[in-house]
């Protein structure tokens, strides 16, 4: 029999299991004997990037200190409902990650008061009075959504039937929103709101809005099968795994109308609906339609909170407004400053799986950096 012929070989899984047991013993030992302390790593920002990096650093044998300004973990993903491409539950992702980082030190509702550079590390003072010394810092400070009201011609905050992608997700999550009609006959989505818009201050593509618009258009159609749903786009950038399948489904199974042309203006009709005007660039004619609800796909821009921390850590901003990596091909997760690492959307728009992969990569970069210091 096979088991008799081959001697017992340790599989990578067995090795990992042993290591985990060793580390656990080590940690328990550390409680008893304070001189055997695990190395601390500060992680700024408790979104999915910060959470995933925390998880990886824990398993690599460090003591991550996760600092989050909000009173909950999960960042933007925590307020999302379902995620493309498989309509997975966003909350489930957050709870899984949260469970996996139970052993880490996590400070919620805490900000960075100041940080200064020491000879071989950083001294970070938190707003809760805790002082953390660490040789490595991970910036996972994320992004903010473009403030849609800045595009005045779309009427966000002016007209009652104009909402954003984030508002719609909040409503999908069971939130109350008086702006969403009970049985809309026509719903529109405007792609690239504050993205690829030099004048609005963000020439970059936000990457995720095309697929988010298609996802949300399908969800709207599922909730309101009678409604005509229009997507106004400049280009459809469906680069990711199964995104194109999503697009085909939206067209074939849900009859969603895709109109190539940027909405030029939105105005309110006498009964409170909104009329949008655009150029139907494929036919070369102006097009207009009255909608009961208009969803603006607000893009991803740099988190303004980054500026303060970046200044104290002497981090630079790249030409796209996001934090600058040491190299945009080989060292995206490393900053030009020794001991400071970057993960997730603080360096630019990213999808959830891209962010998670980058967080893992950053944890490994930190591990290698600290190992080489010794």
């Amino acid at each position: 029999m096979a088991t008799e012929q081959s001697p017992k070989v340790s599989t990578p899984r067995d090795i990992r299991k042993e290591e985990r047991a060793q580390r656990k013993a080590q940690r328990q030992g550390a409680d008893a004997a304070p001189e055997r302390k695990l190395e601390q790593v500060i992680i700024i920002g408790g979104g999915i990037a910060g959470m995933e990096a925390t998880k990886q650093l824990l398993s690599l044998g460090y003591r991550p200190v996760l600092v989050e300004k909000e009173d909950h973990l999960g960042g933007h993903v925590a307020s999302w409902n379902r995620l493309f491409p498989d309509m997975g539950d966003a909350q489930a992702i957050i709870s899984t990650l949260r469970e996996e980082i139970m052993d880490a030190t996590i400070y919620l509702s805490t900000e960075i008061s100041f940080c200064n550079r020491l000879r071989d590390g950083y001294n970070v003072m938190l707003s809760n009075g805790v002082n953390v010394l660490a040789r490595a810092i991970l910036m996972s400070t994320g992004f903010t959504l473009f403030p849609a009201a800045k595009k005045e011609e779309y009427g966000y905050g002016v007209y009652d039937r104009v909402i954003t992608n984030a508002d719609l997700e909040n409503w999908f999550n069971g939130g109350d929103d008086h702006r969403i009609p009970s049985s809309p006959k026509a719903v529109g989505f405007v792609h690239c709101v504050g993205s690829r818009d030099l004048k609005a201050g963000n020439p970059q593509c936000s990457k995720v809005c095309c697929i988010t618009a298609i996802k949300q258009a399908i969800e709207v159609k599922e909730k309101f099968p009678e409604a005509e749903v229009y997507c106004f786009y400049m280009d459809l950038r469906l680069f990711g795994k199964k995104y194109e399948d999503f697009y085909i489904r939206a067209q074939r199974d849900f009859g969603i109308h895709f109109i190539r042309g940027r909405v030029s203006e939105v105005s309110e009709t006498i009964n409170g609906s909104v009329q949008v005007k655009a150029e139907d660039t494929l036919s070369g004619r102006p097009i207009k339609v009255v909608l009961d609800m208009l969803v603006l796909m607000a893009g991803i821009v740099n988190n303004p909170d980054n500026a303060g921390i970046a200044k104290q850590l002497s981090l630079e901003t790249d030409t796209d407004g996001f934090l600058r990596s040491a190299d945009n091909i080989l060292s995206i997760t490393e900053s030009p400053r020794k001991g400071i690492f970057l993960a997730g959307a603080c360096t630019g728009a990213k999808t959830v799986p891209e962010t998670v992969a980058e967080a893992r990569s950053a944890a490994l970069s930190i591990h290698n950096y600290l190992k080489n210091l010794q």
């Binding site: 085909i248 074939r252 009859g255 109308h257 895709f258 004619r285 102006p286 097009i287 207009k288 339609v289």
Partner: protein, 122 residues
């Protein structure tokens, strides 16, 4: 008095007012028409296009925008060679679509006949 200008009817498409019954008929005949992405490869490969202005991309769009007459005018330039079917990246059976639409119109007896105008123009 003539000031040298006059009003012409608006060329704007008003999606609230257009009649989409023909588009729905087309969807019924060939449901794959829904997945057209307007790439234009059908038009680029079209044998009749340089002579008749036939463009299947524009025909589909015109029907989606409720402009039936334009669509019929263009479609009458089709010679049913089927090259558009070969190049369509979404695999739409365009030849079947065109033939079925022409048959549908013929059934209405509007006097439109496949290929009759092409012969004149060539």
């Amino acid at each position: 008095m003539n000031f040298g200008f006059s009003l012409s009817p608006s060329s704007a498409v008003n999606l609230d007012k257009i009649d989409l019954s023909l588009y729905h008929k087309m969807e019924e005949i060939e449901p794959d028409v829904r997945i057209c992405i307007g790439c234009g490869s059908c038009s680029a490969t079209c044998t009749g296009q340089p002579f008749s202005g036939m463009s299947l991309r524009k025909v589909i769009l015109a029907i989606q925008r409720g402009r039936e007459n334009e669509a019929r005018e263009m479609l009458s330039g089709c010679m049913l060679c089927g090259k558009c079917t070969m190049v369509c990246p979404r695999g739409i059976n365009t030849r079947h679509l065109i033939l079925s639409m022409c048959r549908y119109w013929d059934g209405e007896d509007h006097g439109y006949n496949l290929m009759n105008e092409v012969e004149v123009k060539i």
